[in-house]
Amino acid sequence: MRKRSICSAAALAAMLVLSPAVRGQNAARQTPPPDISGVWQIAKPQGTLFPNGGAPLTPWAEAKFKAANPQTNDPNLGCLPEGMPRFMLSIPLPMEIFQTPTRVVIIREGVQVFRQIYMNRDHLKDLDPTYSGDSVGKWEGDTLVVDTIGLKDSTWVDNAGLPHSEAMRVIERIRRTDHDTLVDDLTIEDPSTFTKPITAQRMWKLKPGWEIQEFVCTENNKYTFQGK
């Protein structure tokens, strides 16, 4: 009886060790996530997601998009933050990523807000919409998957003025493809605005020696809503 118990315990231990779930946990413990910290500069800040037209807009969104004029009513002309995802698509200024096990923080020069990606929780309930939104992240292998909701609908999605609702969700898959390169694949979902999800990719280049500089947009802004 006692011998049988020992055998059973050994078999159970062997099963646990060999089970995929436990192996995965051990692997997760043994293999730290990739290091994506550092100062990165966007390789090609393309400000317009649909330069040739054809954005998959709902009628409501189409009307709002037609009223957008980058020279007169872009919210950013008055120095309001571009907001997510625009500040990950088009701003020609660098970002610095700080990485801890529980949070990834992105300081984005020039946008006056920072991003906090929480690695240890789900989205909060009853979110107040903000410019950066509520971001939660997880590592899938070498890829940081970030889910962002809770975004203000007063911002533009791109420099051309693509609108969005407060229900917009942005999924990013961020990975370091080589030592000097970070790739961010973005998927933008907002069924009341877009008839299908929008995708975009931005590449970032590591900039050793660069430091994030102060950027107070209202200091000497000559581009409030009246244009020049």
């Binding site: 500069q41 966007i42 390789a43 090609k44 800040p45 400000g47 980058p70 020279q71 872009d74 950013n76 002309l77 120095c79 088009s90 701003i91 020609p92 200024l93 660098p94 020069e109 020039g110 420099n159 280049k205 900039k207 660069w210 994030i212 500089q213 102060e214 950027f215 107070v216 947009c217 200091e219 000497n220 802004n221 000559k222 581009y223 244009g227 020049k228």
Partner: protein, 141 residues
């Protein structure tokens, strides 16, 4: 005015377009003619070392002595610092030449590519990656 301002087409349109992309306020680049180059010589009257953009103000005299007040616009302080600029780079009274892309509406404004000092030294703005917008000597400290 015409003596001081020479404009000519530029073939490196792509390069200049990238330079325009260094502006955080994106509508701005569309107000300037990225396919042309303006060269203006005169006296510095002011230098805004500021965000979101920095500015050089310059009085240019034509052959009759009439003053035209030019404004050269640049990117953010951060971009300029990384391109080797400092707040002390310019001061009122400096005799310089501005080279850049002129405003489409004919007003005396430009997006700056570089400053050329009287001794030939140049201070060049950068593209997004921090590279000079055109081949030039590196600025001296």
């Amino acid at each position: 005015m015409k003596k001081n301002l020479r404009e000519f087409p530029v073939t490196a349109v792509l390069l200049l377009s990238l330079a325009g992309a260094t502006f955080a306020h994106h509508g701005i680049a569309s107000w300037f003619d990225m396919s042309r180059k303006a060269t203006v010589k005169g006296t510095v009257t002011g230098f805004d070392w500021t965000n979101p953009h920095s500015y050089i103000y310059l009085d240019a005299k034509d052959e009759k002595g009439a003053v035209e007040k030019w404004t050269a616009e640049m990117g953010s302080v951060g971009m300029l610092v990384r391109a080797g600029w400092r707040r002390s780079a310019l001061k009122p009274g400096d005799e310089i030449t501005l080279v850049g892309k002129p405003s489409k509406d004919g007003k005396p404004r430009m997006i700056l590519d570089k400053v050329v000092f009287a001794n030939g030294q140049e201070l060049v703005t950068s593209d997004v990656q921090g590279q000079p917008v055109e081949g030039s000597r590196a600025p001296k400290e």
